[in-house]
Amino acid sequence: MSGPLDEVARRAGEWLRGVGPMHEIVISSRIRLARNVRGYHFLSKADTAMRAELAEALANAMRRATLLKDMLHVDVEHLDELDRQFLVERHLISRQLAEGTGARRVAFDVSEAASIMINEEDHLRIQVMRSGLQISAAWEQINAIDDALEEHLDYEFHPQYGYLTACPTNVGTGIRVSVMLHLPALRLTNELEKVGQAARDMKLAVRGLHGEGTEALGDFFQISNQITLGRGEAEIIDDLGTAVIPKIVEYELAAREALLKGRLQALDDKVWRAMGMLKAARLISSSEAMQYLSHVRMGLHIGRLSTIDLQTLNELFLQIQPAHLQKLHGERLSGEQRSIERAAVIRARLNAN
């Protein structure tokens, strides 16, 4: 196992730096745009030859765009399963692209802030990720990428429906704004359901760490818009960035405050027990590790623990995932071997701190 992705495995993407507004609770802001180009069927009706032609044409358009010329191009079709899983864990590609068939690619920049998937559900899925609550900054960047691509491509655009997408649920702006939140105190105080209900009432989707169809691991949740037609990008961004997300952050902070005031011993127990488990465990699954890391992360932010820094913690969240463990270890591991390796990696990092 070697190649450009090994280099990628050793660092953490820009969006995991743990900076940016409200970064204690808002892990990342992500925007994706769905685009299709004229002259080709959508992918469900594109045969092998058309898919290959599309992949070539779209990758060439990217290479011609000055703004995107430094992007690293990866041929996902010919990647082995471990490398595909690795890219999913880094949020550079979706599960759908990893598990798909036929010609498909991804291009991303060195900072991993921007990535462009070719031949996912739509011809193009452009994505920009930022650390903390930075939806507007993410929009500026993705809008510029979209403009740059448009100079070299002919997008499908309908006067009434806007940008046409394979699934009508994305038509219009083709935008999905997702914010990843860390809400351990709301979970501990059993108030998460209220947040979830409020979000659903506003036609927002609440999902787990890796988006569609995934469970919430380690108290991480993604909130995203579902309506893409009849509302402009600015309105959707403004809604989430200035109304919804700050409100949820406020709730989480209030829940943390309430725990600190009323249940300090119970809170300290959660935080320190988690730290103890991480430092002592010899076999640990990724969901168990995520849960403990989540409690430690909260402990760090509310000042109950200072023996670890945020950067280390953020890197651990990434590196304990199955494909990362195997890439960093340098060989394939069975489920039990991964649990052993995961526990060892965590102990080494925490005891060195």
């Binding site: 009434q160 394979a166 699934c167 009508p168 038509v171 219009g172 702006t173 036609k203 509302r231 309105e235």
Partner: protein
């Protein structure tokens, strides 16, 4: 409603249409009592057998589905039924081909909207609508309505419509 053609006293509640071999129709209108006396109130013995009924029913169901499966995009070959099953369209032309069905679907999934607002490719030379202004005005409109200031609400509504048209 007419009277019974037999006793000419009670209201006719029993109506029978016999179709003769010649194709002529013979209608009879009787009251309950007379119909019973003529031995007509018992349900006529099923003259069509069950299998024939079933066959007709299945054929009917099939022809109902045929109305939709006849809806096929000539560009990508996607049928409407196929779209309904998989949720994905096959090409841009499908939006026109299945317009009625898609409009209904869009209004359901996008909170009643069926028209795009927002960015458009620059090559089309369209001027983007001032989204945030419209949004601010909409908020003010809601406030005006809530405060029963209808004169202001009407004025705001006009300004919103003006912006949306531009």
């Amino acid at each position: 409603m007419g009277l019974c053609e037999r006793c000419k006293k009670a209201k006719a509640t029993f109506h029978l249409t016999n179709i003769e071999r010649s194709g002529d129709k013979a209608e009879r209108h009787l009251c309950d009592k007379c119909a019973a006396e003529e031995g007509l109130l018992q349900a006529p013995k099923a003259s069509v057998d069950l299998s024939e009924l079933l066959e007709n029913f299945i054929a009917g169901a099939k022809s109902g589905a045929a109305d939709l499966s006849g809806l096929v995009c000539e560009h990508c070959g996607l049928s409407y039924v196929e779209f309904r099953n998989q949720g994905l369209l096959g090409c841009a032309h499908d939006y026109e081909r299945f317009k009625d069905q898609i409009n209904r679907l869009l209004e359901r999934t996008h909170d009643g909207s069926s028209h795009h607002v927002g960015k458009a490719p620059r090559s089309l030379g369209l001027k983007p609508k001032p989204q945030l202004d419209i949004r601010r005005l909409r908020r003010q409109l809601e406030e005006a309505v809530a405060g029963e200031d209808y004169e202001r609400a009407a004025d705001l509504r006009d300004r919103i419509q003006e912006l949306e048209k531009s």
